[in-house]
């Protein structure tokens, strides 16, 4: 089966965008999975489950666009903005590994953290995560 890769990288996607795509195809969190499984396959559901536990599940398109616009003022690389949106660091120690050589570039860490607090919704709560763990019937992930 010959296939030609026209463009290996036609654009990076934030976790939010992938989640949005799966949502628009009908993926949802509860037991209506069986009905939606016409359009969303099992392996796509695994991605969906993973993303629902990350910051992406509480983000909106508007907040993400606004955030990436504002980030331009901070002179961040595109990959760093992507990582920040995906991980939503809430403290200095979480933000530093994302940035490359922050000291040499004089990055305003406080400013970025304040922007994250302001624009990006907080992570899903731990209680919700624990419920997820119990809800899953097939625990491939946990040995």
């Amino acid at each position: 089966m010959k296939n030609i890769i026209v463009k290996a990288n036609a654009g990076a996607l934030t976790n939010f965008e992938v989640l949005d795509l799966l949502n628009s195809r009908g993926a949802s969190k509860d037991t209506t999975r069986v009905i939606a499984s016409e359009t969303v396959s099992r392996s796509e559901y695994k991605v969906y489950d993973y993303l629902m536990e990350t910051a992406a599940s509480t983000q909106t398109r508007e907040s993400v666009t606004k955030f990436s616009d504002k980030c331009k003022d901070f002179k961040l690389a595109k990959a760093e903005i992507l990582n920040i949106i995906n991980l939503r660091p809430s403290s200095d120690v979480e933000l530093t590994p994302i940035l490359e050589k922050p000291d040499e570039r004089e990055i305003d860490i406080e400013g970025i953290l304040a922007l994250v607090q302001e624009l990006l919704p907080p992570l899903p709560t731990v209680e919700a995560q624990k419920e997820n763990e119990q809800e899953e019937t097939e625990n491939d992930e946990q040995s």
């Binding site: 890769i5 996607l13 392996s43 403290s91 120690v93 979480e94």
Partner: protein, 196 residues
């Protein structure tokens, strides 16, 4: 973590699907071909959309219609230096193994675990080894209390046929500030949300 890739391929729609609307039938065939498969560009996660369809010829001796399709797929391909949150799955004397739910071959080899550390047999689970990080006087256990570990993937390897069970492997390190189980750094968060 994810990116879009544009591909062009010749897709064969089986005769049983020819009563479906064309796009649906082609999408179905594409999903079967690409979903959850590792290509040279990464792990294909979802079909993003179809850009163009050509053809529709029926080759002699075959009941199926063949189309030339240009489409975009969502590919999981972490870049070098990316920080990812994953769940701890198991550990052995070579290092840790983490999982992302849809992708289970994330390894943190022993040299990339913050030193000094030691590996000891797990008192709770006979088959597994437990890694403990010794920092100052405290010891931190890397355990599986369902917490996220962040790590930057060091180059991803795609062994062609070397490992039949792992066509794509992501190697990460947790040997840096802010990396490792989330619980290690919770105490440091000045602006803390109420959860991990």
């Amino acid at each position: 973590m994810f990116c879009l890739s544009e591909l062009e391929d010749t897709v064969r729609v089986p005769p049983s699907d020819l009563n479906l609307p064309l796009e649906v039938a082609i999408k179905k065939a594409l999903q079967k071909l690409f979903l959850d498969k590792v290509l040279s560009i990464g792990l294909c996660v979802a079909i993003y959309g179809i850009k163009s369809i050509e053809g529709g010829f029926v080759l002699p001796g075959d009941g199926a219609a063949t189309y030339k399709v240009v489409f975009r797929i969502v590919v999981f391909r972490p870049f070098v230096g990316e920080v990812i949150a994953a769940k701890f799955k198991e550990s052995d004397s070579n290092g840790l193994r983490l999982t992302l739910g849809f992708f289970e071959d994330v390894y943190v080899p022993a040299p990339l675990i913050p030193t000094p550390n030691r590996c000891e047999p797990d008192p709770y689970n006979r088959n597994q080894m437990r890694w403990v990080w010794k920092y100052g006087d405290d010891e931190f256990i890397i355990d599986d209390s369902c917490q996220n570990i962040s790590y930057p993937p060091v180059p991803t390897e795609r062994a062609e046929d070397a490992k039949p069970f792992a066509p794509m492997v992501v190697t990460g390190t947790i040997d840096d500030d802010g990396l490792g189980p989330v619980s290690w750094w919770e105490a440091c968060a000045p602006i803390s949300d109420d959860e991990a």
